[in-house]
């Protein structure tokens, strides 16, 4: 059974990233400050569904995936970042999807 079918791609990628060793948080890739109101932030905090933490943009021929992560401090952040990148890219291969042109992963916090 594939329980991913209901979710869109960004949500699936967000979940995937959360399961990468050393990644402890997936942050929203767009600044929420201009629209910072209780409800929106609450949504981010409690449940990412509906909030695109990982952003996927462009069309099928030229996809860009953007993610911002918080990583544990017990391994080099550079290593975890590369691992997260690989996991994102592998997902497209595993699912027989056209691989993204660009995969951008930013480490926003260590520890």
């Amino acid at each position: 059974m594939n329980d991913d079918t209901e979710d869109d791609l960004p949500t699936r990628l967000t979940r995937l990233l959360r399961n990468v060793d050393g990644v402890h948080t997936v942050y929203a890739t767009k600044s929420l400050l201009p629209s910072l109101v209780g409800a929106v932030v609450e949504a981010v905090r409690n449940d990412p569904v509906g909030m695109h933490l990982v952003t996927v943009s462009g069309d099928a021929d030229e996809l860009t995936v953007v993610a911002c992560i918080g990583v544990a401090a017990d391994e080099p952040a550079t290593m975890i970042c590369r691992r997260a990148h690989d996991a994102l890219r592998d997902y497209f291969t595993d699912q027989n999807l056209t691989p993204p042109t660009t995969v951008r992963v930013q480490v926003g916090r260590v520890g």
Binding site: V41, A73, T78, R82, V105, Q106, G111
Partner: protein, 211 residues
Amino acid sequence: MTNLTPEPVQPSPLDDDNLDGFTVDALSDYLDHGRQPRNSDIEGSAAAQHALAALSRLRTVAPRIVNADAEYFTPKHENWITRILDQIGVQAHAGRDIPIPYDVAGAELSITEGAVRALVREAGDETDGLLVERTSLDGDLTTPGAPVEVHVVVSTFATTNDARIVPSFRERVIATVREHTDLVVARVTVRVHDSDITDEDLDDDGNLVPR
């Protein structure tokens, strides 16, 4: 309207009958101006003096009223703090993007300047006896291999032996930046209070040497 029983009214120094012909408005202005220029009518009236004293006392108590309120307003839930913190913590002050080299086509990996500065602060937290106040990274952070300088302002506790603590803190800073980034750290400056400690102040083993 129902019948309202008038509450027993206690005399107050600001009652019209007790003001000797002055007004609360005028007396407040006089008080606001530090009782200058001196008004001998007001200064010579016992009633006005009582009223001024009362207004002045009220002014002294004013900040305490809001402080007293604060007890009632202590949040019952942690929610209001966490819901602000979670997002602003990473989104604001992220600073520049420091590239993480990776030889894969289409990979754009980076760590934020803010994340690295947080690492420097945490190096201070792990060092007993000092607290990091300010951090900065100087240099071309966005070009891999370019030399960068780390500047840190710390305060040390009165009982801290700066000569012992600061070198070990510096070592931690260098180690953590090396571990988590590919930055080339050319220099680390630690400012304790008003004195800078730089590479020139340390011997080859990283110990502090007197200038």
